[in-house]
């Protein structure tokens, strides 16, 4: 009940909060945050890269949780929610990979590095793309397909730790050129800016997810209405 009431407030709270937080984040990241000593200004990409990555994990967690709820309750609104969140997750995964590449080029000299975290993110992208392809290629109200895709989303989500672990072992047990990647503890100011930006992007992600859910729910409703319309017409004839 309380949860429902909170969810009702989404249109009043989320857009302005996300908007303010995003503007604050841009100002903080580009102006207030100190320039990093080794990497220089380009390090400021951290403030969009890291939050995007966290937002994508957040969205995929929503997909997994909604999939579990769908399997338990067999209510199609959870299936819609899982799909809506999966799309948002994919968008943020894509943003993570792109900002990461643009950050990597000046620092590492290459756009792409087979780093465990990057590689895991890419595989995550493949898994949830496959999920969406499978779900979208079948009828919206097909319970078989919804169940199957829910199961797939749960398995895919639970696979993440294993993927990350295997890729890390794969990289570390191979001899490879050492690339300078300094990761000293962030100074306080940077930490603060990072926290703000994470908050901002998570808010945006939450807003997007609610919008995504809304589109999926509307599509379902439309399907039902069309069916009723068809039935009415055939009754008249």
């Amino acid at each position: 009940m309380i949860l429902n009431n909170i969810y009702e407030l989404r249109w009043k709270v989320l857009p302005p909060a996300a908007g303010v937080a995003m503007i604050g984040m841009a100002a903080l990241a580009l102006i207030t945050a100190p320039t990093e000593v080794v990497e220089g200004d380009v390090q400021r990409l951290l403030y969009v890269h890291l939050p995007s990555a966290l937002a994508s994990y957040f969205a995929f967690s929503v997909t997994a949780v909604c999939s579990v709820l769908f399997l338990l309750k067999r209510d199609f609104k959870w299936d819609s929610a899982a799909q809506g969140a999966a799309i948002v997750g994919l968008i943020f995964t894509l943003l993570t990979l792109m900002t990461g590449s643009l950050w990597g080029k000046p620092i590492w000299g290459v756009y792409w590095q087979w780093d465990p975290r990057i590689t895991t993110t890419l595989i995550l992208f493949l898994i949830f793309s496959a999920y969406l392809i499978a779900r979208k290629s079948t009828s919206l109200d097909s319970d078989k397909s919804a169940r199957f895709c829910s199961i797939y989303a749960i398995i895919g989500f639970l696979d993440i730790p294993l993927i990350h672990m295997s890729v890390r072992w794969w990289r570390t047990l191979h001899p490879q050129p050492i690339i300078a990647k300094l990761n000293p503890a962030l100074p306080d100011e940077m930490l603060l800016v990072t926290l703000v930006s994470v908050l901002a992007v998570i808010l945006v992600a939450a807003w997007f997810i609610t919008l995504g859910i809304e589109t999926e729910l509307l599509s379902q409703r439309l399907l039902k209405l069309k069916a009723i319309g068809k039935a009415n017409i055939s009754e008249k004839s």
């Binding site: 067999r74 919206l140 319970d143 399907l223 039902k224 209405l225 069916a227 068809k230 039935a231 055939s234």
Partner: protein
């Protein structure tokens, strides 16, 4: 007040939003033989498939002998026999091999004797060691009759059981299911979809007529809603 064998309450199933079965409520008493009538696409198969536990309803509920169909319990499945449009047989097995496997699954006692009796009754005992894939449609249908009766179900769901059967095959169907003499005290309940309306009077104790997923005519007492 007789026991209810099959009861559905506002049973609904939608495909792509379109209802194939629309709020169907029926009550069938134990031991009755009900014909399910209607044109193609009227929802007969959907109703039978939901009752067989193969398909899930979109809304509403159904119980067979008091067991909720959606729960798919083992006890319920032991009591249902189902013959649907397409045969359900291992194509590269012989009838005996197929039935022996399912006798095991349904834990039929004296399986060997049962199989011999049933195959003889449906008239394909001489084909017992041939591959099912070489059978004609009518022979497969006879085998399906034997398979559906193998575990002595209390409720039989039949979807156009006459398919492919010749005159003697139809007689087999009548003798074994539709007009069979009760051997034991617990009567068998039959719900059979059929297009042969002229034969319905000879075996059915009642009928339900569906059109566009809804009941338009029935001899069953109306469900109190």
């Amino acid at each position: 007040m007789q026991d209810l064998a099959i009861e559905t309450n506002r049973l609904t199933r939608r495909y792509d939003g379109l209802p194939a079965l629309n709020r169907v409520s029926i009550q069938i008493t134990s031991g009755s033989r009900i014909a399910l009538l209607g044109n193609n696409g009227s929802g007969k198969t959907t109703l039978l498939t939901i009752l067989s536990t193969l398909l899930q309803s979109s809304e509403g509920s159904a119980t067979i002998l008091g067991y909720d169909v959606a729960k798919k319990s083992t006890a319920l499945r032991n009591m249902i026999g189902f013959i649907r449009h397409q045969p359900m047989l291992y194509e590269n097995f012989s009838p005996v091999e197929d039935l022996e496997l399912f006798a095991k699954i349904y834990r039929v006692s004296d399986a060997r004797e049962q199989i011999r009796r049933l195959l003889t009754n449906v008239g394909i005992w001489h084909l017992r060691d041939e591959a099912i894939g070489t059978f004609s449609r009518g022979q497969k249908q006879r085998l399906m009759i034997a398979k559906a009766l193998l575990h002595k179900p209390k409720v039989l769901l039949l979807d156009e059981p006459e398919i492919g059967l010749d005159q003697s095959g139809l007689r087999v169907l009548d003798e074994l299911i539709l007009m069979r003499k009760e051997e034991d005290s617990s009567p068998i309940t039959v719900l059979a979809a059929t297009h042969r309306e002229e034969r319905v009077d000879t075996w059915a104790t009642g009928f339900v007529r569906l059109e566009r997923g809804q009941i338009i005519e029935t001899t069953l007492s109306e469900n109190t809603e």
